[in-house]
Amino acid sequence: MIQKKVCMVGVFGTGKTSLVQQYVHTKFTDKYHSTVGVKIDRKVVSVDGTDVTLVLWDLAGRDPQQDVGASYLKGSHGVIYVGDGTRRETVTDLDDLLRVATAAAGPVPSVTAINKIDLTEQWALTPEDYQALVKRGALFRTSAKTGEGVEEMFLQLARFLIVPKAGA
């Protein structure tokens, strides 16, 4: 069995825990319980016929100034960056978080989720913000509430982690 360690990184309250809950248990709650330390969950995905266990480390939200918790990131095979589309600064802070996380985990594959797309009225990102983000590579618009984009986002990361077998 192939296992991969994946860390969820993002500012407080962007929906890291909610994304994992939605993905693993198909559950969502409006209540906000801020994560302390780390919470670990697990899900088996099948990528082109190969089963891979994603061990999901849901880290406590952090602002980029404090880099404690870098040791949790050590040894990650992949990182999921989560921003909140209704709070613009949580998205712009992702650049700093990327630097902190890359220093700890090394240049591992990553995807970026801009979460809470169901809240269109409160959407704070301009199309230009979004276009700037696209350049980061694998970008997903997700909603932990409706489940939109969640499955696809995790699957894309799994695809990065399970690299194709040689000589196909």
Partner: protein, 639 residues
């Protein structure tokens, strides 16, 4: 009585005279010797010197002697010669000694007894004069035995002292005292009885860096929690403790912690961690077993641990080792006559001795550990390692991309001046080294950070990466040692940083339409002209580098009207912009190679805006985006 009779029987006459004086009258001689008349002439003839004058009788006598005694004399002479030959000369002795010793030793123990004092003295003398040589000679025999004995004694001593100490002061100790008083069982027995009951309920082997579970074992009937999660949490707890209680977490790390009735014992190795979940109190000897197991795992699975990328199938055969750690010890009576001697002097002396020996053992363990670490480091091959009293020497091979061996020595606490090192350069084909070489040679894309994986000799590049850089990688024909070909299927090309500004102005342009139509007005044409300019710049720059650009044109409609009219209207808008754009691009000196991908989404993917009028206006539009693909390199790729 027996004494007296023995004395009287064995005593000969002259000495017995005094002893038996009371039995025999003194005046009576015991052995009367009367003069005998015939005796004197016989004695005289035998001892008389020969008369001086030559007498014919004498000559006759000599002749007679010769005739009678000559044969005897010859035999006597021969015997004398033989005796001479059998005398104990060193030469003779050297010939016969081994046989003689064997012969005698097989008969009785007399020889050994006789030799013992001399041999003892000789050994004593030898030890006094050349202690070093003597120690060298017997070390191979004694070393392991001594170590084993000390380790056992130490463990037992420390373990029993620990237990007795802990229990006499804790609440449990108090309850055991009560139990002892209530049942009449001696306190020591109550302590040992309780202390020995433990059960190992689960054993985890966890990859140290990632916290991923490599293997686990538990008794067949027992219900246990999800091992993957426990192993992750275990690592998280370890990281947390490491972060919270010391700057460097390599220093000590977490050894045990408790959850309710369970104690988790954690033994860390350089690459993996073994954790045993114990109900009850495990003795010191169990800690050693866990240590030995993690050492064994490192020895047996060294390369699998080094190269672990998430695939646990390499660790299936570790199972029996873990199962050996599943111990259940039920209440057993303590061995009779074993009492803890708590005399402070004994403990103090024992502690000093133990510390001394431990220090010496630590020195040699430290060295073998650092050498093991060097050997386990990819890209370093140790061919020779010598530990001296003060200075040490190491030689071997080192890949230029391997870590500095000196840093490893310094980290292990060695003074780098004291370790003489000689490293010959070589190229390692170990995956980590190959990947380091690759990263150095391929350089850094702008933007993106590539991840590399080696599948055999195929390099797999992963990530969202600068398209031009990717195209160059795809075209590359010579590879660093260890790589023969490249697989870019897991890489996603993104706009290179150098082209960010034309790309930005292209995608931020938006062609707007009046309600319900796909007619282009002057403002629309202006936007299209601008887009064409940027598209030409992009396509020509990218094309030269082997990257193809596809322009996606997304047509939208506002929320009024039916879905089907909106769908066709938005598609019409996209097609119309595409035609105008294509015409613009054809007008220049050279038509750039651009592909088009027009689509109409109707109202499905609305652009967000602050209020509804603005939103309606913004969504009667066509917006641009660029998708990049890497052209297949011309010519055959090297196999």
């Amino acid at each position: 009585m027996t004494d007296v009779s023995a004395a009287s029987r064995s005593s000969d006459a002259p000495r017995g005279k005094g002893a038996e004086a009371t039995l025999t009258p003194p005046h009576v001689p015991v052995v009367p010797v009367p003069p005998v008349a015939g005796g004197a002439p016989v004695a005289a003839s035998a001892s008389a010197p020969p008369p001086a004058p030559v007498d014919p009788r004498v000559a006759e006598m000599a002749e007679l002697k010769r005739l009678l005694l000559d044969a005897e004399r010859a035999r006597l002479d021969a015997n004398e010669a033989r005796l001479e030959a059998n005398l104990l000369t060193p030469e003779n002795l050297a010939d016969r000694l081994p046989e003689a010793i064997v012969l005698r030793a097989s008969q009785d123990k007399q020889l050994a007894r006789a030799l013992a004092p001399t041999v003892e003295a000789a050994i004593g003398e030898s030890v006094r004069r050349k202690p070093g040589e003597f120690a060298d000679a017997i070390f191979p025999v004694l070393g392991p035995a001594i170590r084993k004995a000390i380790a056992e004694t130490m463990a037992e001593l420390v373990g029993s002292i620990n237990r007795a100490m802990q229990h006499s002061f804790s609440a449990r100790g108090l309850s055991w005292r009560i139990e002892s008083w209530r049942t009449g069982v001696p306190y020591a027995q109550v302590v040992i009885k309780h202390a020995l009951v433990y059960r190992v309920e689960q054993v985890f082997l966890v990859h140290r860096e990632t916290g991923l579970l490599l293997a686990q074992a538990h008794p067949p009937h027992l219900q246990v929690p999800d091992a993957d999660l426990v192993s992750g949490m275990l690592t998280a707890i370890r990281d947390f403790v490491g972060d919270s209680f010391s700057g460097e977490k390599e220093v000590g790390g977490l050894r045990t912690f408790s959850v309710g009735e369970l104690t988790v014992m954690v033994e860390q190795g350089p690459r993996a961690v073994l954790a045993a979940v114990v109900r009850g109190q495990a003795p010191e000897s169990y800690v050693r077993r866990v240590q030995e197991t993690i050492e064994g795992v490192h020895a047996q699975f060294a390369s699998a641990l080094n190269e672990f990328e998430g695939d646990t199938s390499a660790f299936e055969s570790v199972q029996p080792l873990l199962e050996d750690c599943l111990v259940t010890v039920l209440e057993t009576d303590p061995p009779a006559g074993k009492k803890v001697n708590t005399t402070p002097y004994v403990i103090a002396v024992a502690a000093v001795v133990v510390l001394l020996i431990a220090w010496m053992m630590w020195q040699s363990t430290r060295w073998s550990r650092v050498i093991t670490q060097l050997r386990a480091t990819p890209g370093i091959v140790v061919t020779e390692a010598q530990r001296g009293w003060r200075t040490h020497s190491v030689r071997g091979l080192r890949d230029p991309d391997a870590p500095q061996p000196n840093a490893i020595f310094v980290a292990a606490g060695y003074d780098s001046v004291r370790v003489e090192q000689q490293w010959e350069p070589y190229l390692s084909l170990q995956p980590t080294l190959v990947l380091k070489r690759v990263a150095r040679r391929l350089g850094a894309p702008q933007p993106g950070t590539p991840s590399y994986v080696l599948r055999g000799d195929t390099l797999v590049v992963v990530g969202a990466l600068d398209a031009v850089w990717l195209a160059r990688v795809a075209r590359r024909v010579t590879w660093p040692a260890g790589v023969a070909s490249v697989d870019l299927r897991a890489a996603q090309p993104v706009m290179p940083a150098a082209l960010a500004s034309p790309a930005d102005s292209l995608v931020s342009g938006r062609v707007l339409f009046p309600a319900g139509t796909s007619q282009l007005d002057d403002a629309a044409y202006a936007v299209i002209r601008g887009a064409a300019r940027q598209a030409r710049k992009l396509a020509s720059a990218l094309g030269a580098d082997g990257v193809s650009a596809t322009l996606t044109l997304t047509g939208r409609a506002d929320a009024t009207g039916t879905d089907s009219t909106n769908a066709s209207l938005s598609r019409e808008r996209a097609d119309r912009v595409r035609r105008a754009l294509e015409a613009q691009l054809r007008e220049g000196a050279k038509t750039p190679a651009v592909r088009y991908d027009p689509k109409g989404v109707g109202t499905a993917e609305p652009l967000p805006a602050s209020d509804s009028t603005a939103r309606a206006r913004m969504n009667r539009s066509v917006s641009f985006d660029v998708r990049l693909t890497i052209d297949a390199p011309s010519g055959a790729r090297p196999q």
